[in-house]
Point group: C2
Chain length 315, copies 2
């Protein structure tokens, strides 16, 4: 192994935040980390795999971007509840052919994003993988008790909103597939997407969102989760959906890490929150199912066929 | 894939505890789980990989035992802080050749242990693995504020104690290597080790332990962690170490999931706690380093060379 586990653990211990804080009473270096969440808050817990050839390719993505994207998966889930992050845990299995440089860059990308949200890396595990990089990211966050924005709060008549533009991340993958080479400069939302934490908190504090989810699997699939959990249906206006590449990628592309939320039609939802565009794209209906309406008023059924990452259809 | 991800997620949702409780306000089915830890408690967080050919072999271990052992890794860490478990999260990557039956048995083993400790499976992630079963288990627990038993509290003069017998788990592996076939009946501490949660809580409540760790990597390695974090050394009495196979496996074998703790010589540590034998095996000294003393009083240096699971020495 070109990279010893011991060296890697030493790297993590050196680079992780070991100083106790008001929130993290004990980080790396004991059987468990010890967390002290803010008084009157409840905890948010989310875990997400970040797997080579499923969520990234080493040939396409710089290690820094992989570390960043790995953490974004968790931070975006915290954003989708209206919470803020408290601590990060990373379990990382690396194959033998990984260099110390790759591992360092991975941690640089991950920790730069963690630092921007003042969230310490508080623990995790390291192992050797038989093949492929496999990361499992855990983010613990908090939200004032009873104030988490769930998927289950949407009501008929609510408007459906989305932040930013959709399809930018899957659009970059399309470019890779057509042998063009997108870069962090041409496709920042693919390589270094920022989690919409401030938007989520604003929506919670202003009591604007009735239901919320982050778009990680694609608009059609993530909207179906809100519909399922709320027991409602949805109609989207195809002309309104903000997209960068194509309507199809905006509907079914994944890893946008934008927020999808519903709000009462009586609520004043700003057109921009924390410098992020917010667009109304449809409305919740009582009849179960999802539909797409075009400029001519034609309504077609919309199936959840969110992005299957790099997976083959044969599974 | 003989086992669809969708079918597996459906299995988990059906078998996991979805009913909200006083602790788990929201389980599987949202961007994050929502936890409400007991008032005045701080949180314990531990994550552990459980990897095929590192921590288990499919040819040797029944799927039920693998699920059980996977969860024990986390529960044992909670025990080692004197805490109790609140919720479990499982990230599971399965290769294509895994059957639905294997997955069901894995969950049966894991959930039976979770149920005994009234700890709900509150979330996680599922993915396809290119090769090998890879599980990452996260356990969240809690302990009254400031009362967690750390590795760093040992002082010179403290006695060193261990629960149960050591080397039973690695002894079973030795049997496998010698083509004998240990079974859950002949080697229960290998296939279905019980985490020492009640012992850990007793030691915390009675204020007996000054430092504690669970023995997952082997006595010599785990004792070295207490020494490192406490800034002390240790002398073990080889005649006192309770073992099942050999002193060597007791010293360096892994996955015992027994508790190793230190206590003041003035403390009255019972010989049995929660039906588990407790044995004094040595004492903490101020000089850094570890030594083994035999019945004749001969002292030899003891190096941390804990069990490297199935790993090759070449790494």
């Amino acid at each position: 192994m070109s990279l010893s586990e011991r060296a890697l653990i030493a790297t993590i211990r050196r680079r992780a935040n070991r100083a106790p804080s008001s929130t993290l009473a004990r980080g790396i270096g004991d059987d468990c980390a010890v967390l002290r969440p803010p008084r009157g808050h409840e905890l948010l817990v989310t875990t997400d795999f970040c797997l080579e050839n499923v969520h990234f390719r080493r040939a396409w993505h710089p290690a820094k971007a992989i570390g960043h994207r790995c953490l974004v998966r968790g931070l975006s889930d915290i954003a989708a509840m209206g919470g803020f992050p408290l601590a990060i845990f990373l379990s990382l299995a690396l194959p033998q052919d990984i260099s110390q440089r790759w591992a360092n860059d991975f941690f640089t990308g991950l920790l730069a994003l963690a630092d921007r949200w003042k969230t310490p890396l508080a623990g995790g595990d390291i192992a050797q993988s038989p093949q492929n990089v496999m990361a499992d990211i855990l983010v613990i966050g908090s939200v004032p008790k009873g104030k988490a924005i769930l998927r289950s709060g949407a009501s008929p008549g609510d408007l459906i909103y989305v932040t930013g533009k959709l399809g930018l991340s899957s659009g970059a993958l399309e470019e890779f597939r057509h042998r063009r080479k997108p870069t962090p400069r041409t496709a920042p939302r693919h390589f270094f997407p920022e989690p919409r934490i401030q938007v989520g908190q604003y929506l919670r504090v202003q009591k604007l969102a009735t239901a919320m989810i982050d778009i990680s699997d694609g608009l059609s699939t993530d909207l179906s989760h809100i519909c399922d959990e709320s027991g409602v249906g949805a109609v989207l206006f195809s002309e309104s959906i903000p997209h960068g590449y194509s309507l199809d990628l905006a509907l079914h592309g994944g890893e946008d890490y934008e927020l999808l939320f519903t709000a009462s039609p009586r609520s004043q939802v700003p057109a921009q929150i924390a410098s992020t565009k917010v667009t109304a794209i449809g409305e919740i209906v009582s009849r179960r199912g999802m539909w797409l309406t075009d400029a001519m008023g034609r309504r077609t059924p919309l199936k959840p066929r969110g992005w299957e990452h790099f997976r083959h259809s044969g599974k």
